[in-house]
Every structure is written in structure tokens, then in C-alpha cells.
């Protein structure tokens, strides 16, 4: 079980499908350390011990120093901290690892270079190769957990992205053999961007994809976020889902000061964490809140 904690929705990049994209007329907010600690305390009180910190891409507002400062403060609350932010070079990942970051999530969004160029029209994220190499750089820098993913609803046919994602995972299992790997296949959700795919991936197709990933990657984590509807999420768990969030807010400050800033996308599963944990138990699974402790790492 993990919880997303959005630190900022400021972004200098334009991804045409994202509600945080530069230029969109949305309420923007970047949390102070005190605000992110309040959010962290809220999540900790709900049982979370693993938090995923997210920001848009803003070199000045949410750079390595900003992240290091927030991670340093939140370490007192969470034994496991992951990041889903802009991609960095190896030295920058090393600094983040030293600050206490255990995991890094980098979705390639689409593996097709042409589609990638079409959806990522401006900003740092335009560099396809730099993004693709992010997980390996993070691994070399000592980050312990890697997450990769493809955003379903960008490239068509989506199966090409699914195959590329599996190939990327198989490659990482060889070159980043010390790292724990998880894959994710989020579907596009409504957002302030107004983007909606022409041929959305259906529930049936997503279930097929989860099965296929489980067969190709039997020991790899599979993430299912609150983008999906409650009943559907529960039904996917026995097919091989291993990581899940619950009660998520995608707007900075959304747990303790909701409504002050725009969220990245709409969540579909709004159940409280304990409700999701109960649903997992009812299916015969153990909800694991804590699975790692940064205290193990010397020097952290």
C-alpha cells in the first residue's frame, strides 16, 4: 500500500494530455516543507508508511534541492519514500538517494518515438532518450526500487506500447538486477487538458494486459492506482496486482487543504485506505503497509 503526495503542480513542460501542462489556466500550488509535513502526518495517521512524492517539471521550483529538503523532512514519518518527478542525471539521482529516496518511478508514457514527439511538445520531457535512460541512471546511483509504465490511451495500437513496456522491464531485470521493479499501465483519465483518446483501452483489454504482464514478468510488481473504478480494481488484484494506492488526491495539499489547487487527473476509486485494505483481506490477500525501512541503509 502506498499513497501519492503531490508537492507541486507547477510545470514548464507541455504534455498535451496532462492537467498540469504549462499554460493551462489552473490554480497552481507548491507546498512548503511545513505543508508537506501536514500532508504526511495525515497519511501516516491512515496507516501509510510508503509515500510517493510527485511534482510537475519545474527546474527552479521543484529541483533536486527542493526535493531533498522535503524528503529529509518526510523521512521522520515514512520509512519508504519514492519519487515520481522529472528525470535526472546520475549525480542528481545519487544526491536524491543520499537524501533518503528509495524508489523512482518514471513512466515513458509511450515507447513509440513518433507518438512521444506528438504528445510532448515542449519542455525537458521532450527528450525521449534521456527519459528512457532514467531508470538505469537511477539504478546506477543506488536507488533501490524502480517503477516504469506506459500511459494507455496515447499511442495506438496500445499493444505496441504494452510489448515495449515488457521489453523495457526485461532489459532492466538484466542491467538493474539489484533493483526491485514494478510496472504500471495507467489509462488516461479526464483532466484539465481536455484530452481524451479516440479509442480508449477497454476494461477487458486492460485485464488481458495484466494477465499478459504477469505471465511475461512473473516476479515483477504490478501497480494499480485509483484511476480505476473500485469493483474493477478489486477484480484485477487476483490477476497479479501487487501495489496499490487508496484515498488518493492528485492536487498539491489535497489531503489537508482540498480544493486550493487543480489535480493532475480525476481519481475513480475514492474509497478510504482502510476500505481498500478490507477489500484486499476479503480477497485473501495481506495489505502490506510497511515493506522497507530506510534505517537499514547505512548513512541515511
Amino acid at each position: 500500500m502506498y499513497a501519492p503526495l503531490y508537492l507541486s503542480n507547477e510545470c514548464l513542460t507541455t504534455c498535451t494530455y496532462c492537467g498540469f501542462a504549462k499554460g493551462l489556466p489552473i490554480a497552481r500550488k507548491t507546498l512548503s516543507v511545513a505543508q508537506s509535513l501536514r500532508e504526511g502526518e495525515f497519511l501516516r495517521a491512515r496507516g501509510y508508511r510508503h509515500v510517493l512524492l510527485l511534482t510537475g517539471e519545474h527546474q527552479k521550483l521543484t529541483g533536486v534541492d527542493f526535493l531533498g529538503e522535503h524528503v529529509g523532512a518526510l523521512r521522520a514519518l515514512f520509512p519508504q519514500i519514492s519519487l515520481e518527478v522529472q528525470v535526472w542525471n546520475e549525480d542528481e539521482y545519487r544526491r536524491l538517494a543520499a537524501a533518503g529516496v528509495d524508489g523512482v518511478v518514471i513512466y515513458q508514457e509511450t515507447y513509440d518515438p513518433d507518438s512521444y514527439a506528438r504528445f510532448h511538445v515542449a519542455g525537458k520531457k521532450r527528450d525521449y532518450e534521456f527519459r528512457l535512460g532514467g531508470p538505469e541512471r537511477a539504478a546506477r546511483a543506488g536507488i533501490r526500487r524502480l517503477g516504469i509504465g506506459a500511459l494507455l490511451g496515447l499511442h495506438e495500437p496500445w499493444r505496441e506500447d504494452a510489448i515495449a513496456l515488457a521489453a523495457h522491464a526485461l532489459h532492466l531485470l538484466k542491467v538493474a538486477w539489484r533493483q526491485e521493479l514494478a510496472v504500471s499501465v495507467p489509462r488516461i483519465r479526464p483532466s484539465a487538458s481536455g484530452y481524451s483518446p479516440e479509442h480508449p483501452v477497454t476494461d477487458r483489454e486492460l485485464a488481458q494486459l495484466i494477465c499478459a504482464l504477469r505471465l511475461v514478468l512473473p516476479d515483477t510488481g504490478i501497480v494499480m492506482s485509483t484511476r480505476e473504478a473500485p469493483g474493477f480494481r478489486d477484480a484485477l488484484v487476483p490477476l497479479g496486482v501487487t501495489h496499490t494506492s487508496a484515498g488518493s488526491h492528485t492536487d498539491p495539499g489535497g489531503y489537508t487543504e482540498p480544493g486550493e489547487a487543480e489535480g493532475q487527473f480525476e481519481v475513480d476509486d475514492t474509497r478510504a485506505p482502510e476500505e481498500v485494505a478490507d477489500a484486499l483481506r476479503a480477497l485473501g490477500y495481506e495489505p502490506v503497509w510497511k515493506d522497507w525501512d530506510a534505517l537499514m541503509r547505512a548513512g541515511v
Partner: protein
């Protein structure tokens, strides 16, 4: 299997060590532990609230008066992490028994022989009772034994694979050569796998290994200090090191290997 299993001077009526993962709830785990008859329960330290700050914690469901809690270092990728984790556990009041796991590869969770041995030496020197999870490698098991480990715990097959005793032939050699209890640690997926492991006996007829350990402990102490009463605690006590009175040191682990030419080899004094 009528005799008791003895590890580091402590007797266990059950030869089953039970884990704490994959239960749907703490209560389900409590019932399962009760039904198993086990006396030793291993718990992953990475899942325990090490800062003891409250909140959901697996330890609440384990009766520590009834079971020996065996903290394990799963998730540690090198010796330094395993040692750090064991020390943290001890600092928070957990027993100084430790199931040593050093698994840099998170996929198959295969133990790192080099780092496991390094960690074992350090933890034994720190006074821990060390039960190391290791490859089914007879030579490594002898090294671990000589480092002062209270058992060796070779894998039957990869963790979680349920494939049973794929390493049977190597485990036979380990059992044949061991002077400490051999615990098959991973890959068992059916009661018959566990039964097959327990049926592996040394070829020569001899007293149970547990009683060897007890006879080792009967000798008087050697000149080496830093030992705890009744425990094999100091890695410096090598096979056959001698006590002041010329007998095998009671902390020496291989009384049967007592030979004059080996008597002082490896002894720290």
C-alpha cells in the same frame, strides 16, 4: 523425530519455524501459529515499525512468551545492511537471535554467500545467535559453522517457488558434514517436502546433532573471553580450541574434530 531440536543451548519440541508473511490478517496469523505447534516465529524486520512509533505492527499478534521471535534481515542487500538491521532490532528490545538473510537480487532472493559470511562473522562477534539463510553449498556451510553460526539454513529451492528439495544432493552433504543443526529454509511447498527434509539423516549412525552441541557445552570454558554462558557466541572459538585444562573449549563447535594438530589453529589467543 522424537528428540528435541537444540539450537545454541535452547531446546525446541517443534522442528518447524514459521514465517509471518502472506497472512490475510494478524488474527489469521495468530491462529495459524497456534495450529502449527511451532515454538519459533520469524519476522521480517523491514515490516516492523523500527522507530516504535505506534500504528499497525505485526509484533502485536505474536505472543512473545510463547514463541521465540526470530527477527530476519530480509531486504538487506549486503553485510552492512544486515548487521545494521540486526543491531536496530536488538536496540528496540527484540531477541539477539537473528535469521540472517542477505539477498541482493530481489527477484529470486538468492543469498549472497560472500556478504552472508561477512555479516555472520560480525554478528557472532557482536553476540548474536546467528541462523544464516544460505545457498545449499557444503563448503559455505562449513565456513558459516566455523564463523560461529548456531545453524546453517540452506535453501531447498528458490524462495516462494514451492518446488521442494531441488538441492537434495547438496543438502545431504551438508547434513553429513554439519556439527550444527541444518534447517532447510526455502522452497518448500507441501508438508511432504518438509517431511522429506526431516528424513535426511547423516549416513553414519551417531547421536543427534543437537546432543553434540550439548556435549560441546559440557567442557570448561577456554581462555577466550567475551562469551556468554551456554552459548556459542564468539567467532574466535574455532574447531577444537583448548580450554585451560587441556579439554576442548566448551564454546568450540566441533568437538568431534578435536585433534592435537588442530587444537590451537585459528584460536584468537
Amino acid at each position: 523425530m522424537n528428540g528435541k531440536l537444540e539450537i545454541a543451548g535452547r531446546a525446541f519440541a517443534s522442528r518447524l519455524i514459521v514465517g509471518t508473511g502472506k497472512f490475510s490478517s494478524g488474527d489469521a496469523m495468530r491462529v495459524a501459529l497456534d495450529a502449527s505447534g511451532t515454538e519459533m516465529v520469524t519476522v521480517a524486520l523491514r515490516r516492523v515499525d523500527l522507530d516504535a512509533s505506534g500504528g499497525p505492527d505485526i509484533l502485536e499478534f505474536i505472543d512473545r512468551n510463547r514463541y521465540l521471535l526470530l527477527p530476519n534481515t530480509s531486504g538487506a542487500i549486503d553485510a552492512a545492511e544486515a548487521v545494521r538491521l540486526a543491531r536496530l532490532a536488538r536496540a528496540m528490545g527484540l531477541p539477539d537471535w537473528v535469521k540472517l538473510e542477505v539477498t541482493p537480487d530481489p527477484r529470486y532472493l538468492l543469498p549472497d554467500p560472500v556478504e552472508t559470511l561477512k555479516a555472520a562473522e560480525q554478528l557472532v562477534a557482536d553476540g548474536f545467535i546467528v541462523l544464516p539463510y544460505c545457498s545449499a553449498d557444503p563448503v559455505l556451510c562449513k565456513h558459516l559453522e566455523e564463523a560461529g553460526c548456531a545453524t546453517v539454513m540452506p535453501l531447498g529451492s528458490w524462495i516462494g517457488s514451492n518446488q521442494g528439495l531441488r538441492t537434495r544432493d547438496a543438502i545431504k552433504i551438508i547434513v553429513e558434514q554439519a556439527s550444527v543443526p541444518v534447517v532447510v529454509d526455502a522452497g518448500l511447498g507441501a508438508p511432504s517436502h518438509a517431511a522429506a527434509a526431516m528424513e535426511m539423516r547423516p549416513r553414519r549412525r551417531r547421536p543427534s546433532r543437537a546432543s553434540w552441541i550439548r556435549s560441546d557445552l559440557r567442557g570448561d570454558p577456554c581462555t577466550h573471553t567475551g562469551t556468554g554462558a551456554g552459548r556459542v557466541r564468539d567467532a574466535r572459538h574455532r574447531s577444537g580450541c583448548l580450554s585451560r585444562s587441556g579439554q576442548t573449549c566448551r564454546f568450540s563447535r566441533s568437538r568431534r574434530l578435536r585433534r592435537p594438530d588442530r587444537a590451537t589453529r585459528g584460536c584468537p589467543s
